[in-house]
């Protein structure tokens, strides 16, 4: 490995600090990088913690609660020489700024036939974490459908560091999602850079491919480890890049195993799980030895009380049951 890479690797061994370290490294090396969002001086979301101490309030900027204005401003700034990072606290708040995110940022380059280059990164927490229906959506399927936005969703500190770094170096708009429940997730950051669009086979196995995203990937790995003791080989494909959709990487695993379970924290209808399943059915139908199983949030909303939330979010038992079903 090159020494350049070694110096780049973050000492953090937890997920949110790994995102923060990737941001800090980029800000150290490039004055054009500004970071703005709600409460980021306070560092309410751990992805921004402490940054104001190093970079000052001119570069780590608290915004009003005006997601549309400060997302749209990021587009104008990015197209004119800055490289802004914007934090949207929860990806559910994308909805109040959907025009700016989808209709402006996502398609500025296409509509102008490539005249606009907008190197901006959006950091957002996504998924359920005890805040009920208006904060908890895994909203990325809508953005995968909207197009024009690169989307990554790391589930390990390693993925978080490298994918954030790649996002900040990309000249396209990129959304970096993180599950609040994984903010403190531990793991080594290896000296193996990842690029936008990468997926990671985090557990190898021969019997069934489990495609999983974010927190669901963490749960899938636990299930895989348990089932390995029974002699069931579960291959976990951590789909940490969601847009552009990594078709080839998705198809490769199921071609080896012949069976697929897809786990998603989004609502089932038109979920990422749906896209993954459809892709497998189209591109690898001949390799399938059993119908594909989707495990996702039923078509209700995320409720508040812990037993209710746990009832709708896929749990390890749900993943295990789906695996056993496709193996039966």
């Amino acid at each position: 490995m090159s020494s350049a890479n070694q110096t780049a690797v973050s000492p953090a061994n937890r997920l949110a600090p790994a995102i923060r370290d990737a941001i800090a490294q980029q800000m150290r090396g490039d004055d054009r990088v500004l970071f703005w969002g709600e409460d980021i001086r306070t560092g309410v979301m751990s992805t921004s913690q402490g940054l104001v101490d190093e970079f000052g309030p001119e570069r780590v900027i608290d915004t009003p609660i005006s997601e549309g204005a400060f997302l749209g401003a990021a587009l104008g700034a990015a197209a004119n020489g800055l490289r802004p990072i914007v934090e949207i606290m929860y990806s559910s708040f994308f909805y109040v700024a959907f025009d700016q995110l989808v209709n402006q940022i996502g398609r500025a380059r296409y509509m102008t036939d490539g005249q606009v280059t907008a190197p901006l990164t959006v950091i957002a927490a996504t998924g359920a974490s005890g805040f009920a229906a208006q904060h908890s959506d895994a909203s990325y399927p809508m953005l995968m459908n909207a197009g024009g936005l690169r989307i990554v969703f790391p589930s390990t500190p390693h993925q978080a560091f490298w994918l954030t770094r790649a996002a900040l170096r990309s000249d396209d708009p990129v959304i970096v999602l993180n599950q609040p429940a994984l903010a403190g997730a531990k793991g080594e950051i290896r000296d193996e850079p990842m690029e936008l669009g990468d997926v990671e086979v985090t557990t190898h196995g021969e019997d069934v491919s489990v495609y999983a995203i974010g927190l669901m990937a963490v749960r899938a790995r636990k299930v895989a480890k348990r089932l390995a003791e029974e002699g069931i080989g579960v291959e976990v494909v951590d789909v940490c890049s969601l847009s552009p959709f990594p078709v080839e990487a998705i198809v490769a695993s199921v071609r080896r195993t012949g069976r697929a379970v897809v786990v998603d924290e989004a609502r089932l209808a038109c979920s990422a799980a749906s896209e993954i399943s459809a892709t497998i059915a189209e591109a690898a139908f001949d390799a399938l030895e059993a119908p594909i199983e989707r495990v996702a949030v039923p078509n209700v909303f995320i409720p508040y009380a812990p037993p209710l939330e746990a009832h709708v979010i896929p749990q390890e038992a749900d993943i295990e049951a789906a695996i056993r079903k496709v193996l039966a």
């Binding site: 005006s66 749209g72 587009l75 025009d99």
Partner: protein
């Protein structure tokens, strides 16, 4: 500041030509629509509003950027875009500014100071703030100028951006073209308060009401706002009261009755300037006639060239999403 007469003496000839170019550019589209052209998509014309376009965009400097609405041909022309490439975009030709991907509502050429027209009412306002933020951070001395209609003044994007522009003391000049109608609805029927220009005050953004059919007045207030912005004194909001002569889009003939009266054309900014020049012995009437003949000649040639340009290759629909 020069007095009015000095300004007219100095800029009158140029303004007449610029106003006429904008008018004739759009008249040709109106005529084309009326003739039943099959190559023309939806077009929203700002005939009657030329003084805002020329008074605002005509005095910007290289590096300044405007965002405009779906009714934005005028400011883009006044900013200096090439009429032939604008026509080509409107007609969906490969030589258009966006290779035919944008059309009338989405023309853009950031390199020449037009960050983009916008199909979403109010959609381009936050972008203009970001342009100004970049200018401020990079010390370029440039400004971001969102030009939008009265309809956009009722969007959250406008209110949010006014506030954030004030907080950032950003070099933004907000230009509202109040033409009396939002689509098919009279502005007054859906707009609260004593005037859109007063909406800046609550955010600490000075607001000015301008006779938007008087190119001299628009020029003067825009010049003052630009001076403030470039001096680091923050944003200004101009409300330019003007008139939309045509309907919401070409072919719209919904003006009728008391609720939706056809707008008066009394305030014609070209005739007004020409008359003022006549009074000063500057031969405004004669120059306006000459300007129209000249515009016709050039813009007919531009239209012909655009019509002769090929359509884009279909497979180019698949390119340009990502870097």
């Amino acid at each position: 500041m020069e007095d009015r007469q000095e300004l007219v003496e100095k800029h009158g000839d140029h303004w007449l030509r610029a106003l006429t170019d904008v008018r004739v550019f759009e008249l040709q589209l109106a005529e084309m629509h009326k003739a039943g052209s099959s190559v023309l998509g939806a077009v929203h014309l700002g005939i009657g509003q030329e003084a805002v376009a020329v008074g605002v965009a005509g005095q910007l400097i290289p590096g300044d950027q405007i965002t405009v609405s779906h009714r934005g041909h005028g400011p883009m022309l006044a900013r200096g875009l090439d009429p032939e490439r604008m026509y080509a975009e409107i007609l969906g030709r490969v030589s258009g500014y966006c290779g035919g991907k944008g059309g009338s509502m989405h023309i853009a050429c950031p390199a020449e100071g037009v960050a983009g027209a916008n199909g979403i009412v109010g959609g381009g306002i936050p972008m203009a703030l970001g342009i100004a933020k970049a200018a401020k951070e990079l010390g370029t001395g440039n400004v971001g100028v969102p030009i939008f209609g009265d309809g956009a003044a009722n969007t959250g994007a406008f209110a949010e951006t006014l506030n954030l522009a004030a907080v950032w003391e950003a070099p933004v000049v907000f230009v509202c073209e109040n033409n009396g109608y939002g689509q098919f609805t009279p502005t007054d029927a859906v707009t609260g308060g004593p005037g859109i220009f007063t909406r800046g005050e609550g955010f600490g953004v000075p607001g000015v009401e301008v006779d938007g059919e008087d190119v001299v007045a628009v020029h003067v207030e825009m010049a003052a706002a630009l001076e403030r912005a470039r001096a680091g004194e923050g944003p200004t909001l101009l409300e330019c009261r003007t008139t939309r002569w045509h309907g919401h889009h070409e072919g719209d003939e919904r003006y009728a009755g008391e609720y939706r009266p056809a707008p008066s054309r009394e305030g014609d900014p070209i005739k007004r300037l020409a008359a003022e020049m006549d009074e000063l012995g500057l031969e405004g009437g004669a120059k306006a006639e000459a300007a129209e003949a000249d515009s016709r000649k050039r813009l007919e040639a531009a239209m012909e060239a655009a019509l002769a340009a090929p359509e884009p290759a279909p497979e180019t629909a698949m390119t340009g999403v990502y870097v």
